[in-house]
Point group: C2
């Protein structure tokens, strides 16, 4: 018996435990001001009323013989897949319901999707990055190359500097950087994938934070993307589902490699290793896509965007280079005065009682940068901005 | 770009679509009696009141800022892991909460668990079998050997006839056979695993159907099993959660291979590729383990067991060899008069308007046998039994 030896190559991340330890140490020194936490990317607003009402109603259905539901389809109930199609149609993207797979969140599908690809495929990942892309391929032993984001490319690496690869991960709006690819930039990636027979795994978890109409909210708004891209979406940040667990993944029927339909491979993977999302949760998710649900969750997104704007303005005033803050709940800034990520973390904690996230925690390309999360209340964001301005 | 070539080696299963097609064809010939469906292993009773009340209350919590929950731990909330430990304690098995992983169902964890094992491990699978064990290893390209269940071993294959293997799948009470290993028999498997450095993946999804006190309801009731076994449990059949999606998997801390803790490997797998089960669902699951919840769900299990008993009695009266029917929701019988599985399916459908599941659908070892599912209402079970007796 041998365990999967690739697990030994995983980097243990102590990022958030290190952050917590430093906050505890700082608090124990007994300052008078409250510490403002802008570190973790978890939502703070409760679920929209339309969502919890739908979940309660669904729970009631499950308690009656006449309306009880047993096994659903692994890929999700038709009512939710059709609601997702309706949402895509509002973006000008036409999908069939069987191109949509309901999941328990983007992380699961991003982590499991590589199952359908051969182990000898090469992987291209931007740096800094959401660690799941890296770790799920390290676990499978696939060779990974990185393409670095920096100030010169606005943390939006482009394929002109990229080596050939089979699987490419892109995230827009980016986590941790908040940077958003334009349609022209995404078209370059689509062209790269089509020419090189690559598949783009497009993490679109923050798409609803995009407010500028010229920016894409789906890679399928780029012609040809249905032949080279899989898109991962989530209700976690867009509707407060971090503790409720529902997302959706689009695998177009036009997407084939080596004669095989990736849609069919993923369906086979899911029917074998997944049993679908709880009925009550899918009813809650469906409610998000109603007119009322979109209004209620839009107000939540706007609330967080207001926080991001306030923080970004303070950085602007301090003359710190930054990206994100508009079209994203994250603000990503260059650390001042040549500080590295952790030095700036300590500096902010000691002098402003603000806890953010050191950019180095997202890969070596994040060193010298810092992430502020706007998932907090308006008052905290305003206070944090005031404190930053006074530094 | 290459897709995972192993997927091409998967057998497409048309079992349940074939069954549905034959039922449709039979119905279209216009019989007068209703067709009794004893094919699919899906529950029919609604969720217990204690469960749906807990889910509604949790949904209400999620709608208030003061009680809202964002990300939970990937391995599940402590309240549910501790409730599972309490349930195990009632079986005489002591677990720590960090040995319990809450999942969205046994199928997901059974399918994903092989991720933590090397690809060159050999796999031993009983035949007939729940297809997920086979398919998830075919997808990874692992070599599989089979050990056959038959009348001589009561569909409970023992290691005396088994070749050496690294990973062994056992299911007790069995799906599709309903057969239950005794403690002495399981002890042989534990001994086999300890001597050969193997790991047993023990599917215990039907443990609550075991009513005879001398039979084990957990492999950890066998000394030494904590050093060689992972146990998969589910609320799907025991509490009607097939559409609500919650299970739990036990990976003991004492279980190590090649110096690596399988508990830590699985935790790493889950934190990377899973984000935990919805808070509302975990509250519903917690309610199952309260005194009231155990009473309410026990009544459901008893209801299905009554059906199984009635069906088994009819087979007994017809002189058909069978197993299951007690301690299991499935009854597994030898087809009469040398019929093969599909011939008996057609015979039952045409002459008794009963639809079951041909044993051959669960592997070649199931040829000549037939599965009846007791997940139906009492009246259907009684009617089916009457019709069988009159054949």
């Amino acid at each position: 018996m041998n365990v999967n030896r690739n697990y030994a190559a995983l980097h243990e991340s102590y990022l958030f435990s290190d952050i917590a330890a430093r906050i505890r140490a700082h608090a124990s020194r007994g300052g008078t001001r409250r510490i403002i936490r802008l570190g973790i990317g978890d939502v703070t607003l409760p679920l929209a009323p339309v969502v919890t009402e739908a979940m309660s109603a669904a729970a009631a259905e499950m308690s009656c013989a006449g309306t009880f539901r047993g096994y659903g389809e692994e890929q999700g109930y038709a009512f939710l897949r059709e609601a997702v199609c309706g949402y895509y149609a509002s973006k000008g993207v036409n999908l069939d319901a069987d191109e949509v797979f309901i999941s328990d969140g983007a992380k699961s599908d991003l982590g499991n999707m590589p199952d359908i690809f051969a182990l000898d495929n090469t992987v291209l990942i931007t740096d800094p990055v959401y660690p799941v892309y890296v770790d799920s391929n390290v676990m499978a032993g696939r060779p990974i190359t990185y393409i670095t984001g920096d100030i010169s490319n606005g943390f939006l690496p482009l394929p002109s500097r990229a080596p050939r690869a089979d699987i490419v991960y892109l995230c827009s709006p980016g986590n941790p950087t908040g940077a958003v690819y334009t349609k022209e930039q995404l078209a370059l990636w689509v062209d790269y994938a089509l020419r090189g027979d690559a598949v783009i795994l497009f993490d679109s978890a923050y798409e609803r934070f995009v407010r500028q109409a010229h920016l894409p909210t789906s890679i399928y708004q780029i012609p040809g993307a249905d032949k080279c891209a899989i898109e991962f979406c989530s209700l976690s940040k867009t509707a407060g589902f971090t503790g409720t667990r529902c997302g959706y993944t689009v695998v177009p029927r036009a997407l084939t490699r080596g004669g095989a339909s990736l849609n069919k491979l993923w369906l086979r993977r899911q029917t074998t290793k997944f049993n679908g999302v709880a009925y009550v949760v899918q009813r809650g998710a469906q409610a998000v896509f109603t007119r009322e649900g979109l209004e209620q969750t839009d107000a939540q997104v706007a609330y967080y965007l207001q926080n991001a704007r306030v923080i970004a303005e303070a950085l602007e005033k301090k003359g710190l280079w930054h990206t994100g803050g508009v079209n994203s709940p994250y603000v990503w800034c260059a650390c001042p005065d040549g500080m590295n990520s952790w030095e700036y973390f300590d500096y902010l904690l000691e002098n402003a009682d603000i806890a953010g996230t050191p950019g180095a925690g997202f890969g070596s390309g994040g060193e010298g940068f810092f992430r502020f999360s706007a998932f907090c209340d308006n008052e905290s964001a305003r206070d944090a901005a005031d404190r930053i301005k006074k530094l």
